[in-house]
Each structure stands twice: as structure tokens, then as C-alpha cells.
Amino acid sequence: MRYTLLIALREFAENAKTKGFWIGIFMLPLILAISFGVSTKLAKSEPSRYFVVIDKSGAFAEPIDHSIEWEHQRSVLQALGQYAQENLRAGQKPEVNLATYQAAVDTFIAAGGKDAYLARLSPVLRENAPPFKEPTRLFVRVELPREIDAGASSDAVLAGLKPYLLGERRIAVNGGEAPLFAALLLEPDAVAGAMRWTGAEAIQYWSTNLAVNDLPELINNALNGETRRRLYVARGVDVASVREIEATWARLGRFDPGKAAGTETVSTADRIARNVPVAFVYLLWISLFTVMQMLLNNTIEEKSNRIAEVLLSSVTPNEIMMGKLLGIAGIGLTMVGAWLATVFIAAQLYHGAGAEVIGPAVDAVVASGMIPMFLLCFLLGYLIYAGLFLSIGALCNDIKEAQSFQGPMMLIMMVPLFTMIFINRDPHGTLATILTWIPLYTPFTMMNRAAADPPIAELVGATLLMIATALLLLWSAGRIFRMAMLRTGNRPKLAEIVQWVRGRADS
């Protein structure tokens, strides 16, 4: 055991001393933090996008303007909610409703918008609260360029707009210039054409940007709203009443029968916790993948640098193998431990938007037993994959040779990533059940199903399967390791490897 520990210690120290290890430890939380921060910043600093409307029908320009403005007011209300959360005095609650469902936004607009709400919020805000910054208007309708005659044929108008839409020319905006993001062309028969699904389109949205769908969706909402309003009027329905009725929002209570009596209500935190297994699967994958690379590289180094022979004169092949397994497992656990600790500490320290949900979600994750499950899946998954990667390392003369094995192994290891979302959505479905019983995927699948309380029989069975597979693969790896570590030159054939595993070869 002393020699196994000495080897484990050296493996741990060698890997822990590398820059790669420390970059790995800090990189993942850093990338997550940067991604979160950057996406939040980018969302806040998204530039205004300008579009023109050529409304030959005379029916839709105003509803579109209204729709764009309403959406902007909704984003203002959302920003106000976040502002209030960040700047409320302790123990204070805002008097106004800062939710962003339709009726709440309508109330906000009717009450006078931002200024009115800020006036009512100010008594409960911190004294040194910064001034509220209104979000940028994401979409702004501008006038057609002067040289384009709105009354000309549609083809002529579009031909005139093309240089602007292609970025060759810039449109005049508030004394300056900006690129034209989109153009909406409404033919004279647009009202009737809106419901016509054959022939030429009476309503055409032109833009080179196919990724941003917010603007066409907003326009579509406006078109639908106006078309329906006209139909209501035509049929004598009171439009104001319809609008009022449509603004209602039914309350749906969600309950989980699996929770303790009296606490069955499903909160947002519960729903987040329910999706956490996907994050754990990803963490499991990335940690296993990282440590397997280390194990493979170290094994190949010992073989290609002929260190194995010196080691074998001092310790048994099993002591070497167990030492390597322990050392690299230590590295893996340190890495995931650091990652998990970072997430929990960050969750404790975070007080920004969504903090009221993140804290309880973390508590729910801790209470759910997912962390012990993660550690179990990591350890058994580690032993299963270590059996394979140790064998590959021992069989290859150098890293180049190992790459030919790594390709197929990578593809095999990618399956849990491709399937993790589907398994999370249907944790007891056919896919989840099948993958549970394929040993290479059992750790990932069981981790993913952890929050959905899989049947106890499956849980025990899958654990036993992982243990049995790990033992079998490590036992085989032990035999391959002993035979292959001193062998150089041509890679052994499969039949020879089978002979080694069966113990029928000359050592």
C-alpha cells in the first residue's frame, strides 16, 4: 500500500503542478462567469435597430408602432423590477406590481410609465441608489430615404431600398446615419392578403439578418392583433372588452406529489433544481474527459519514456496501476470539488437579478441528494473509463498512436452530451431506460435521472452494473497493462490482447 500511495502522490503532484490543471480549475468558473456577465452586458447594450414600413394598405403602420412601443414598455418595466431588487432598502417591498405579464404592462403604461412608477418606488429605495437607466429601444421605425417615393411600385421601392438593406448605404437617423436593419412592405390588399396562404405575399419582411426573430415576431403580433380587431368590429364584437378579457392571466398552481405533505407546491427554484442534473451530466462529462486525458498521457509517457521498466523492478504492475488510478482520481475530485465549491460560493455571494430564485435552487439541489449521486457517478464512471484508457495507454507506443483510439472513444463519450436534454425531459422514457443499462453511459444517465426519483430497483441495479463493469474493465486493464507496458514496436493484435486478458499468454 505504501508504494501505491507513493505512486499516487507522484501522479497527483505531477498533474497538480501543471499549468493545465490550474487553468482547468479556474477556467470553467471563469468562462461561466464571463459568459453570464457578457451576455447580460450585451443584452443591456444591444444597439437599436432601424426599420422602415411602406404601408400601402394604410391599415397596419399604427398597430405596428403600438406593438413596438408596448414591447419597449415591457422591457422598461422588467428593468425597473431588476433595479428595484438591486436597490430596495432592507425589509421594504415595492408598492407597484413589477411583473411583466400583459395586464401588468398595460397597467404600467396606463399609470404613466417609468416616471410614475419611479416616483412611487423612490420612498422604498436605498438613499444612494443610482439613477434608473432606461433600456435602449431595440427597434425603431424610421422614415423612408428621401429619394425613394413611397407611392412608386413595390418593385421600385424595394430596388431603391436594396443598397440600404445590403449595407451599401446608410439611412438618416436623428441627424446621424445608421444601417437599415429591415423593411416591411404592405401591399394595398394587405388586410385581405394577411389571411391568404396562396399566391404572392401581400405582406413582405425584407432583411439580411435571419438570426434576429424578435422584430418579425413583434410585427406578426401587430398584424394578427389588427386583423382580429377588424374581424371583431365586422362581427359587432366590443373590441375593448375583448382586449380586456385577453389581458387576463389564469393562475395555475403546480404541485409535486413526490414532495413532503404540505410542501408539494412547485416553485421556480424547484423547476431550476429539476434541470440541474443536466448541468451535473455536463460537469461529469467534462471532468471525466479531462482526467482521462491525463491518465492516458501519463501512461503513454511511462511507456514511451521507458520508465515502466524501472518502476516494474521496484513495484508490481498492480501497485503502479492502482497508484495511477488513485492519483488521477485525486486530481479529478480536486477539480470537481473546486468547481462545485465555486458555484456554491458564487450562489451565496450573488445578489443580482434572480438571486431570490438561485439561493433556494441551490438549497434544493443540496437537499435532493444529487451531490452524493454525482460523486458516486464520478467515481464509478472514472473507474469504468480508466479501465479503458489505461489499456489504450499501455497498448500505444506514443500519443500519435493513441489518437487513433481516441477518435472512436470520443464519439462514444459524446452520446451522453447529445442525449442529456432528452433524458432530462423524459427521465423514465425508453431512451433513458436503454442508456441506463449500457455500462459506458450508466453514470451519465443515472446522474441525469437522479432528480426524477428513478425506481429503486433501477438505481440499485445500475449501481451494481457500474461496479461490476468497473471491476471487469480494471481487471482486464491490469492484465493488459502488465503485458503491454514493456512491449514496443508493433501494436498487439486483438486476438493477442484477448489472450492476455484470458491469461493464456507468455509474460
Binding site: I307, S314, L486
Partner: protein, 319 residues
């Protein structure tokens, strides 16, 4: 305590149909420097790997320091394999200390021993240098130090001189002698006969997996017939039938003496070679043989090696 640190009895190793080591027996006396010689592919490394229980013999018995497995006495033995290699990212001192601790030394003692040995063999200033930054020769010295840091009773050095420059070869020769002086037994394999000639008390020669000689260096040299080489333009008729001469053989035209021919005069093994050579020289003067060359140098171990390896792989043993 047995007088032998290592005993092999009828050891054979087969890999499938190939016999790498064929019925080899040997005994290495305690405190000796023992040469293990043989051409490439003779089975030296396979034998050494069996000695260290890295691979198992197909048949036969091995006893090392009285144990049947080297792992049982790993603290008392040291090994430098033919294929040298170390962890590139480790420093020289950490490497020596690590391998010494694998041989049973406490981590503290291993560390102290590492620094002291590196200092003694001229690598003190490189103790903190990573292996990858050392020259090949320095790396090899570090590995030799790894093999002896735990002060083993028995050290096996497989081709320790390969890749070393002449200066470092001398350092290594000194190190081997130091080990013997301190009471260790050293077994080393080599292709370079000069090292064996200078260092060995005894030597074992194997070829094609079979032992072909086991004895002292002097007795190895004695296995080849003594000879006198001459170059002359004269007839060598006067030398025919001379006492002590076993055979006279023409080697062809002399390359160094134009017009002369080279002759090899083989002497009887039983006669005094010095006396026989003197008799031949006297007969040459008496018979009017004009000599361009008269060579009666001692055969080297190299000559013995070539002669023995070239001969049938029959066992030749001498005291």
C-alpha cells in the same frame, strides 16, 4: 548467508515458438563485478527482466539474495534498464528521491541521499533542473544514481555505458568500482569489451539465448588459440614442423607491405606462447626469412568475444 547473490538454474524463456533464453545457469559471487556479454538479441535483457521478476521464466529457477522473487528483496537491489527513461517534468533530485523512496527509503532520507549523490557525481548544480533540460549523458547519470541511491547489495546495470561520452564513461567505471569497494555486487551488460576487460572479475557470455562462456576474463582470453602474425616476401618453409606450431595459414597479400604476404602461425595451446614466439623469431633469422612484420600481441577480450560468439554455442566453463 549464501556466497552467491544470484543463482539461475536451467532458466528458459519462450515467447510462443521463439526461445529467447535457453537453459541458462549461472551463479554470481557476492562482492564481484560480473560482466554479462553477448551480441544483440542474445537474450541479455530478457534474462535481466526475469531476474527482476518483471517477466516469468518458462522453466527453471531463479534465486536473488536468497529470495525467489526480486520484489521480496526490492529494497536490496538496484536496476538500470537498457532503455533509459525518466519523468521529463521532474527535477533530478526529485527523480532520484522518488525512485529511492520506491525502494523503501523514507522520503526524508531519500531526499538527502539524492542531493548527496548528485553532488558526488558532478550533478550538484543540476539537482533542481528538470530532466527534460538535462543533456542525454546527464540524464543517464541521474538514472544510474536512481539505481544505487538506496545503497543496494546487488546492482544490475543493463548497457550502462551506451550513449555516454568517454569522460562520463570513466565516471561510470569509477562509480562501479566504488560500489564494489563498498561491498555491492555489480552485474552489468555491455557491448564494449574494453569496459568489461577493465572492470570484470568474471563474465558470462551468451549468444542466441544460450550460455557459451562463464568464467574469468583471463580464462576467456585463453579460450582462443595464441598466434603470431608475420609479413614476408620470403618462403616460410623453415618454419614448418617447428615445435609449438600447430598450423601455418596464408592470409593473402599484405596490404601494408607491398609484395609481401601475411601469414598466421597458430601455436599449440599447451606450450608457453612466449617461448614459442621466441623460437619462431630465432628460426626466421636462422632461415633467412626477411620479416616486414612480426606481431605477437596478447589477444584482447574483443578477440575472445568474436571467437566465442562465432563458435558453436556450446558451453565452455572455466574456473
Amino acid at each position: 548467508m549464501s556466497g552467491h547473490v544470484l543463482e539461475l538454474e536451467n532458466v528458459t524463456k519462450r515467447f510462443g515458438d521463439f526461445t529467447a533464453v535457453d537453459d541458462v545457469s549461472l551463479s554470481i559471487p557476492r562482492g564481484s563485478i560480473y560482466g554479462f556479454l553477448g551480441p544483440n538479441g542474445a537474450g541479455k535483457t530478457t534474462t535481466i527482466r526475469m531476474i527482476f521478476d518483471i517477466i516469468k521464466p518458462t522453466s527453471g529457477y531463479i534465486s536473488i539474495l536468497g529470495a525467489s522473487s526480486a520484489l521480496a528483496v526490492r529494497r536490496r537491489i538496484g536496476y538500470l534498464p537498457e532503455e533509459k527513461g525518466l519523468y521529463k517534468a521532474m527535477t533530478a533530485a526529485a527523480t532520484v528521491a522518488y525512485f529511492a523512496s520506491l525502494k523503501g527509503l523514507s522520503r526524508k532520507t531519500a531526499k538527502q541521499r539524492a542531493y548527496s549523490l548528485l553532488e558526488r557525481y558532478g550533478l550538484g548544480e543540476f539537482a533542481g533542473t528538470r530532466i527534460q533540460a538535462l543533456s542525454k549523458g546527464m540524464g543517464q547519470k541521474v538514472q544510474v544514481i536512481c539505481a544505487i541511491a538506496h545503497e543496494p547489495e546487488f546492482v544490475v546495470l543493463d548497457e550502462p555505458f551506451s550513449g555516454l561520452d568517454p569522460v562520463n564513461q570513466q565516471v561510470l567505471e569509477k562509480l562501479i568500482r566504488d560500489l564494489a569497494l563498498l561491498g555491492s555486487t555489480v552485474l552489468f551488460s555491455t557491448h564494449v569489451m574494453q569496459h568489461a576487460e577493465r572492470l570484470c572479475d568474471r563474465m558470462l557470455l551468451i549468444a542466441k539465448g544460450r550460455k557459451i562462456f562463464d568464467g574469468t576474463v583471463a580464462s576467456a582470453k585463453a579460450t582462443i588459440p595464441r598466434r603470431v602474425l608475420i609479413s614476408t616476401e620470403s618462403s616460410i618453409e623453415p618454419l614448418a614442423g617447428l615445435d609449438g606450431v600447430a598450423e601455418i595459414k596464408q592470409l593473402g597479400d599484405s596490404l601494408t607491405n607491398p609484395g609481401a604476404k601475411d601469414w598466421e602461425i597458430r601455436l599449440h595451446g599447451q606450450t608457453n606462447a612466449q617461448t614459442s614466439a621466441q623460437t619462431i623469431l630465432e628460426r626466421c633469422f636462422q632461415g633467412g626469412i626477411v620479416l616486414r612484420r612480426f606481431d605477437h600481441s596478447e589477444p584482447s577480450l574483443h578477440d575472445a568475444f568474436v571467437a566465442l560468439v562465432g563458435a558453436d554455442a556450446s558451453i565452455k566453463e572455466s574456473p
